[in-house]
Point group: C2
Chain length 369, copies 2
Amino acid sequence: MKNSAVNQFLTNGTLYLSAPEAARVVRKVGLEFSLRRIAANIHEDFSRWADFDKSTRVANHSEFGVIELMPVSDDHRYAFKYVNGHPQNTGLGLSTVMAFGVYADVDTGSPLLLSELTLTTALRTGAMSALAAQSLARRDSRVMALIGNGAQSEFQALAFKYLIGIDTLRLYDVDRGATAKLVANLQPFGFNIVVCESAADAARSADIITTVTADKTRAIILTPDMIAPGVHINAVGGDCPGKTELHADILKQANVFVEYAPQSRIEGEIQQMPADFPVTELWQVFTGQAAGRTCATEVTVFDSVGFALEDFSALRFMYDSALTYGFGQRIALIPSLENPKNLFSTVADPHRATTGRHTSNGPVATVTR
Amino acid sequence: MKNSAVNQFLTNGTLYLSAPEAARVVRKVGLEFSLRRIAANIHEDFSRWADFDKSTRVANHSEFGVIELMPVSDDHRYAFKYVNGHPQNTGLGLSTVMAFGVYADVDTGSPLLLSELTLTTALRTGAMSALAAQSLARRDSRVMALIGNGAQSEFQALAFKYLIGIDTLRLYDVDRGATAKLVANLQPFGFNIVVCESAADAARSADIITTVTADKTRAIILTPDMIAPGVHINAVGGDCPGKTELHADILKQANVFVEYAPQSRIEGEIQQMPADFPVTELWQVFTGQAAGRTCATEVTVFDSVGFALEDFSALRFMYDSALTYGFGQRIALIPSLENPKNLFSTVADPHRATTGRHTSNGPVATVTR
């Protein structure tokens, strides 16, 4: 029941990866390795789908956005993510999506890792999209339309470069500054880049169309006339009740794939469709129980909303990487008690120090590297 | 939409209260003030019950315990708690219950405060019990049986001393060491203490019976023969499917009060009863819409399971107290970006530092006090 990770927690506290520290991990191991490894973890975890205790996320909606909790666990590890979605945030200097989460031990409930998940979510979303496209896009796909050039767009571009072999990008965003930022960021990576005047223009001649816009509305980014036979649509931006990107007629003529159907029916593009609209869960494709793309002319849609298991897979990667390279700090998120039944000892005597075993009142200790 | 708390977050990051730092806050403001203030916050928040977006907690059960997420929000603030329950943990040197949580801004999703909640949960549970007893126990109650002398017991004892006027405690635990610890910890507080040989012995002549045991089983700590007319039962330990403390016949003859009926019917003592078993939610009592105790001879039960709104109220107290006294540290849980759409900048160039505005790669900065 007790394992080395729990012993580490008991002795040193919870491992904490701040946003800058998680970025250091990714820079250390490399973007390509991070995207490939997270995709491999997702494939591995989705392939043992039945092992997981799954639920639709818990969402608290408000006027300007949503805050969600996304838990998942197997017999060994538990993970959850806190994530918001507030499209107007960028106007305030804040990110639309901010996230953090915890990776915990199931047998004891010990929070082993507290990590930023804003960057990590961007990585896992790109990795998940490319992983799905490996089964759903035509093998000869080289041109991707990328509609929505915000915080997630570079990660989509690179995941599709590394995992699919995309070499040409057709970019469009209502915010030209966002596109300029994306072009500048992608400059070192050797893409052929075409900046387009409209979503329709971007979609023209693309093998894959990725939509990753942020409006919390029933937007219609793509209409049926923009969709050529054989296209794969990677619909990332619609992930909330009332927030969609595709015209319903596209879904009717396509083969639609989802992460976890009960959640996607609430949040995905398919919220526009009847409850019995046929979809395939990707774990079925990964395990060979269902087909992905079956011919060169069909239209496929990955109706991505983001499922807790992807964060589980990503947290697993970040935890392993941080331990391997000694990144992160140990923090006293939970009281460290000589006698666990004596919680009161921490507040008993104002003139006595706490009886904690590790971190006391000072600043968080840094792990020696 | 933007407010000073969000500005603080944007400029300095998330306020972090570690377990030792939260204990410092409580020692600074005092245990009595903490318990009274948290009880007042709970009363205030429960009295505007309709303002909150409420849900039953999300529980992931496993062989040895449970991990739960408890979110709640109003139009202004959001809070959630992570909490586990693993009765065998104490044998490993770990606490049965470990918790932490976040207090966030609803309009932007900004996580304003990340706080330990192990100590805070103990305080709010004691405060909630005593607050309920103010409406449910006889006014002349002075003697309390305290069955289960673990980590939560001191907080129950003190909350009932300060808010109810309990001066005599009748203690029982299967673990004599736990009782000895409780006696030692309570020594400075001037209780009359009687160490008892059994739960029945402890319950004898008590005005209030508090059960706060930890076994994840259908334990029967109290049977009908132990319950005298006029007693108030504060049943704290049964808080999980399959985890109860009271004989069903006690519930049948008593007036039963709960926090949030949909959750209590799953987790509370009333999980033993039919779905239409009559209960009163405490907010109805606090607002005068329902009666608490109506006569000196009835038996009342507070079937406590712990509801997210209590943590909201407690986090509000901890946040306000930490800001007032300058406790806590600011951490970079979320990337700080000059351009929120340029998340990629944090990982773009391995030879360049991150473009964060505040905390960079070093140890967490301490707020100047």
